[in-house]
């Protein structure tokens, strides 16, 4: 599964993108897996209310299922316009 990061999430994790093998069934389970990896992940995911998530390039919630998902993105609230 491709995991992509943007803005300060990307900076905290230290990379824009990575491929991981995971059995996580929901975004929340994926976040738990990532948090357990290293301090920088724990830090980046410490406050989920400050994060947004997209599964296969569609905004969704942290309890969204991951069946068949190819790409999950984590980023702060958007500031376009």
């Amino acid at each position: 599964m491709d995991i992509v990061y943007f803005a300060w999430v990307r900076e905290r994790i230290g990379r824009p993108k990575e491929k991981i093998d995971t059995d996580a069934r929901t975004v929340t389970e994926l976040v738990e897996e990532l948090r357990a990896r290293e301090e920088r992940y724990a830090l980046a995911f410490s406050d989920l209310s400050a994060l947004r998530v997209a599964v296969d390039q569609e905004l969704t919630d942290f309890d969204a299922p991951l069946d068949g998902a190819r790409e999950v993105a984590f980023f702060p609230p958007m500031t376009g316009g």
Partner: protein
């Protein structure tokens, strides 16, 4: 969605030009505003290639479904911009002004908070900070 600058005058003039069935054209243009101290060197705009196109298309389609519009245009830049440069524009054309205004405001409210762009400010004094999302921008979505 583009890295290159765009020309507001040319876009506005070309938009809905020659249409005799549309009485009302609204444009909104976002400009890089300097900070209070006048020390903004650059506004960097990061985006999520792939998702950005989908999100902008979805927002524009939603507007076209909710209001009676003859035409819709959305341009959004990414990359490094300087104060006074144009960040983005939306344009709407409709038979009546109410539709054109409401659709343009809707597009802006959704672009602000639902399109995957993130702004970072770099100052001449070497500071760099991500622009924080505003509660009022999130609240603005509630009216639609």
């Amino acid at each position: 969605m583009q890295d290159a600058p765009f020309d507001l005058g040319a876009e506005a003039a070309a938009f809905a030009a020659g249409r005799k069935d549309l009485g009302a054209v609204v444009t909104f243009t976002g400009v890089v505003r300097d900070n209070a101290a006048g020390t903004l060197q650059a506004m960097q705009i990061e985006h999520y290639p792939g998702m950005t196109e989908k999100a902008l298309t979805k927002i524009a389609e939603e507007a076209a479904a909710r209001w009676s519009l003859g035409d819709v245009l959305v341009i959004h830049r990414y990359g490094d911009l300087t104060p006074g440069e144009l960040i983005m524009m939306v344009a709407t054309a409709a038979r009546h002004r109410k539709d054109a205004f409401e659709a343009a405001e809707y597009l802006m409210d959704y672009l602000k908070s639902r399109a995957p762009f993130w702004k970072r400010e770099i100052t001449t004094t070497g500071e760099s900070s991500w622009v924080a999302a505003k509660d009022e921008d999130e609240d603005a979505l509630k009216r639609w």
